[in-house]
């Protein structure tokens, strides 16, 4: 019983260890850890503006991690989530620039859903490409994903500096601002849109239910744990691999739309901001459990948002957040797998015989 409880709250362990180490580091460099953490908190949840900014950052992260829950369950390492997000933002930008801008009379309730659907489709197709490279081309999804990430980034740069260049001339900063009817309705002057948060939460609940209760979820779980047995028990593995990737791609695409249509108001060069990779870390840390994915995602966006505030308050460099994040990754990789740590250690010879 206690074992169950420890297993359940285990993700806290690497986080607290990482924070302890960081605290020690702050003391060594002569900063007061309490002030720093206070600044981090103030920077992320200290006021309305900060809180909304944290939430706005959290939404795409949540969407990507939700998608990754599906692929990780199916045993796929969808590193390409970053590229799928970029593909989504390209799709959304295309709708904003090529449909909304020339036709200002089309109302927002048509344009925005259209942009979202196109973004999700682009993300899903980009993901399907990685899946098909895997199932038909025997290219591991990690390598395919990395290549497609680069291609998506290159496509962004090409579009910004080429066809979608602002009229005042070529810069690599971004396109012209999108017309407002194509954007998410924002809260006040912040970059946070409650609609996007609702979409993300609905997606998370749906995915959690699908993975728990539906036959599709069971198939993915089976396939993720043993592809060959699952196939022999009747799971059409190619189809399910493509489906899992496409669901993840669609959610990442939606995240991309949220990035261009609410965080920014135009297509920028590094549109994804590394959120896809961060999402992989979040899901790994959460051990593919939906509730933990939600909480850990929020923790990370607070951390990253608070980082900039630390600089102005205590004169510590804002890369502190990155430092904490990096330390966390190390500790998660070291201690994240509860069962691996507490399993009886095997002797070398036993391990060899097992291997046979």
């Amino acid at each position: 019983m206690t074992d169950q409880i420890i297993r359940r709250i285990w993700p806290i362990a690497p986080i607290s260890l990482a924070l302890a180490l960081i605290t020690l580091l702050m003391i060594v460099v002569g900063a007061n850890p309490l002030t720093v953490y206070q600044a981090l908190f103030d920077g992320s949840f200290g006021g309305r503006e900060q809180s909304l900014s944290t939430l706005a950052f959290w939404v795409p992260l949540l969407l990507c991690s939700t998608g990754l829950l599906v692929t990780f369950t199916a045993g796929l390492w969808n590193i390409g989530v970053e590229g799928q997000m970029i593909a989504g933002s390209l799709g959304a930008s295309a709708v904003a620039l090529m449909v909304a801008k020339p036709n200002p009379s089309i109302p927002g309730w048509v344009i925005l859903p259209l942009a979202i659907v196109v973004a999700m489709l682009s993300g899903a197709l980009w993901a399907a490409l990685a899946a098909i490279l895997k199932t038909r081309g025997r290219i591991h999804e990690i390598f395919g994903g990395v290549a497609l990430n680069n291609l998506a980034a290159i496509a962004t740069i090409y579009l910004i500096s080429g066809p979608w260049q602002p009229p005042e001339g070529g810069s690599l900063r971004g396109t012209v601002p999108f017309p407002t009817q194509a954007l998410f309705p924002l809260m006040g002057t912040s970059r946070f849109s409650p609609l996007s948060l609702i979409l993300a939460l609905v997606a998370l609940v749906l995915v959690a239910l699908a993975l728990r209760g539906t036959f599709w979820g069971l198939k993915l779980k089976a396939q993720g744990k043993n592809l060959r047995s699952a196939f022999l028990l009747g799971v059409p593995s190619e189809r399910e691999a493509i489906n899992a990737m496409m669901v993840c791609g669609a959610l990442a695409g939606l995240a991309g739309a949220v990035r261009v249509l609410s965080w920014f108001d135009s297509l920028r060069q590094s549109i994804s901001g590394g959120i896809g990779f961060l999402a992989i870390l979040v899901v790994l840390l959460a051990g593919t459990r939906p509730l933990w994915t939600l909480l850990i995602g929020l923790f990370f966006s607070a951390l990253l948002n608070g980082g900039t505030f630390v600089h102005s308050r205590v004169q510590l460099h804002s890369s502190l957040s990155g430092l904490i994040q990096g330390t966390l990754v190390l500790f998660v990789l070291l201690l994240g797998d509860y069962t691996r740590i507490f399993r009886r250690k095997k002797t070398v010879m036993e391990a060899i015989s097992d291997h046979e």
Binding site: T214, K219, K221, A222, K225, L232, G234, I242, M246, S353
Partner: protein
């Protein structure tokens, strides 16, 4: 050196792989170790060579109690094993591979290593080029190189595990002469682990026979073959003549089928199985029985011939959307041609050539992608078509192929069920699972993870997941690891199925089981299938010979 094994026992969760084996091995003699698969030969040799520790019992070398912590420890004390797959490094030249044995030397002395190899080679008539890479050598030559390594490290006892599999007749002659020389002139102990009675009779001075983990006896050679076969497989059992199912409809028909798998090709197989018939496949592991089953199930493609299940080929469904993916290059070509015409027609407006080509490339890529997704969605693999037509395949690897570690028994039931609902009805699945658990006598709850079950229970679980009714049931070692009572129970359930008209093909290492349960038996040896024997008219003796590759 004199080796004594006293009361050696090795227990792997409930299975007694070795059960109280006591042996004395005298220097200067060649011993043959005989026994069917699973008789405990490999376990005993792994214990003697330090690869595994016995659960109980002692090893004495020259009267002194010894225990080995690892194979290299055993080798230090003079016991060396030559594995069926040589434990060498294919990417290294022979001499470097040889020098790896001398890890205490700081410098790599390739010169003396090469001399060693040559000197030993000359002594025994081996011809190994010290600078040839291991992966360019034949299996026989790799074996020789290994042998030299073991001898140079001072092996007094040499264990050879199936050494003649995959080597040429000439190499076999050289190997056997070397063994005779090492034993009779240099007073070493040679242990030959083999299934091949002929070779054992050729080479050995004494034969030790194991069966089901127990020592059945030792015989000085020469000894009649029938005597050895009787020890290996147990006494002759009188069997009732079985009714043959000539009247039922034909379920499976194979016509001159050739199947290539990674390491084995079975050729020109023809057979017919009728409703309610049981065909047993005998043979050593990896002689082609598994390849046959997998070909029937549509898991391996046949390169020639026909496999008909209920008069129709076992093949997957190919999607009708195939043409969409094929459309893509056509679209691309048409747009390029159109662009070329515009380019040379002098009338260039709007898109330039490169832009047009890029866009047409993009469009055709998109068409290809969508087409391929549709194809993947609608394709059905031959194996799943086989399942849909009432076939089932139960593989030998329990946690590797049959079951999914980390999933519960209920979850397996839900996966294996013939029909599925979008939202899984866990109540119903659970009650079904409880039924099956009772019926198949599985020690576990519906919520038990399959990897938490013992081997025998996993085996019963795999059989419990089979659906009713079936046309054709393919089983690999259906009762391996089960005790007698469970085995009988499982076969009773199979008999029930055959009364319903299910045809069964199964493989087994247990010749008694094959003779008792099958109507007809086919024996595989090195990818070649024997003529099909009527189970009532054959004997353990005949099967034993066919398994060893001897035609009677």
């Amino acid at each position: 050196m004199r080796v004594e094994l006293q009361d050696i026992q090795k227990i792997f969760d409930q299975v007694r792989a070795n059960d109280g084996i006591s042996l004395v091995l005298e220097p200067g003699r060649i011993y043959g170790l005989l026994g069917e698969n699973g008789a405990g030969k490999s376990t005993l040799m792994k214990i003697l060579s330090g690869y595994q520790q016995p659960t109980n019992g002692t090893i004495r070398l020259d009267g002194q109690d010894t225990s080995f912590s690892s194979p290299s420890d055993a080798l230090c004390r003079g016991i060396g094993m030559l594995y069926q797959d040589p434990l060498d490094f294919p990417a290294l030249p022979a001499v470097e591979n040889y020098q790896l044995a001398y890890q205490d030397n700081l410098l790599l002395d390739l010169k003396s290593g090469a001399e060693h190899l040559r000197a030993y080679g000359q002594r025994f008539g081996f011809a190994i080029d010290p600078h040839a890479y291991i992966d360019t050598l034949t299996l026989g030559e790799r074996q020789q190189a290994e042998l030299i390594r073991l001898l140079s490290l001072g092996a007094e006892v040499l264990i050879l595990d199936e050494p003649t599999t995959g080597i040429s007749a000439e190499q076999k002659e050289v190997l056997f002469n070397t063994m005779r020389h090492l034993a009779h002139d240099e007073q070493k102990i040679i242990i030959l682990v083999s299934h091949k009675l002929e070779e054992v009779q050729q080479l050995c001075d004494e034969v030790v026979v194991l069966r089901q983990g127990k020592l059945m006896g030792t015989r000085s050679m020469p000894s009649p073959t029938s005597e050895l076969v009787r020890l290996m497989f147990g006494g002759e059992i009188a069997r009732a003549q079985k009714q043959l199912f000539e009247s039922g409809r034909c379920v499976l028909k194979m016509e001159h089928v050739t199947v290539r798998s990674e390491d084995l090709t079975i050729q020109d197989i023809s057979l017919t199985i009728r409703e309610g018939e049981v065909l047993g496949l005998a043979g050593l592991e990896g002689s082609g029985q598994q390849v046959l089953l997998q070909a029937c199930a549509g898991l391996l493609p046949s390169s020639a011939g026909k496999i008909l299940l209920d008069d129709a080929t076992v093949k997957g469904k190919h999607s009708g959307f195939y043409w969409i993916a094929r459309l893509a290059p056509g679209v691309f070509a048409i747009v390029i041609v159109w662009l070329l015409i515009r380019l040379f027609g002098g009338h260039i407006a709007g898109l330039d050539f490169a832009g047009g080509a890029a866009i047409s490339l993009l469009i055709s890529g998109l068409i290809w992608l969508i087409g391929t997704i549709l194809v993947a969605w609608t394709d059905q693999s031959p194996y799943h078509a086989f399942q849909q037509r009432g076939g089932a395949y139960v593989p030998a690897g329990r946690l590797e192929e049959g079951l999914i570690p980390g999933l519960t028994i209920s979850e397996h039931m839900a996966l294996a069920a013939p029909t599925h609902t979008f939202v899984v009805d866990w109540e119903q699945i659970r009650s079904q699972t409880v039924d099956r658990i009772q019926r198949y006598n599985i020690v576990g709850q519906p919520e038990t993870l399959v990897d938490g079950l013992s081997g025998g229970n996993q085996q019963r679980a795999m059989i419990a997941f089979l659906n009713q009714p079936l046309r054709l049931l393919l089983l690999e070692h259906p009762t391996r690891g089960l005790d007698v009572t469970s085995t009988n129970w499982i076969w009773e359930l199979f008999q029930e199925r055959r009364r319903e008209g299910t045809a069964i093909i199964f493989t087994s290492a247990d010749l008694d089981e094959l003779l008792e349960q099958s109507d007809r038996i086919a024996v595989f040896s090195g990818g070649v299938m024997s003529r099909i024997l009527n189970a009532g008219e054959t004997s353990v003796d005949e099967l034993g010979h066919l398994i060893g590759g001897q035609e009677l």
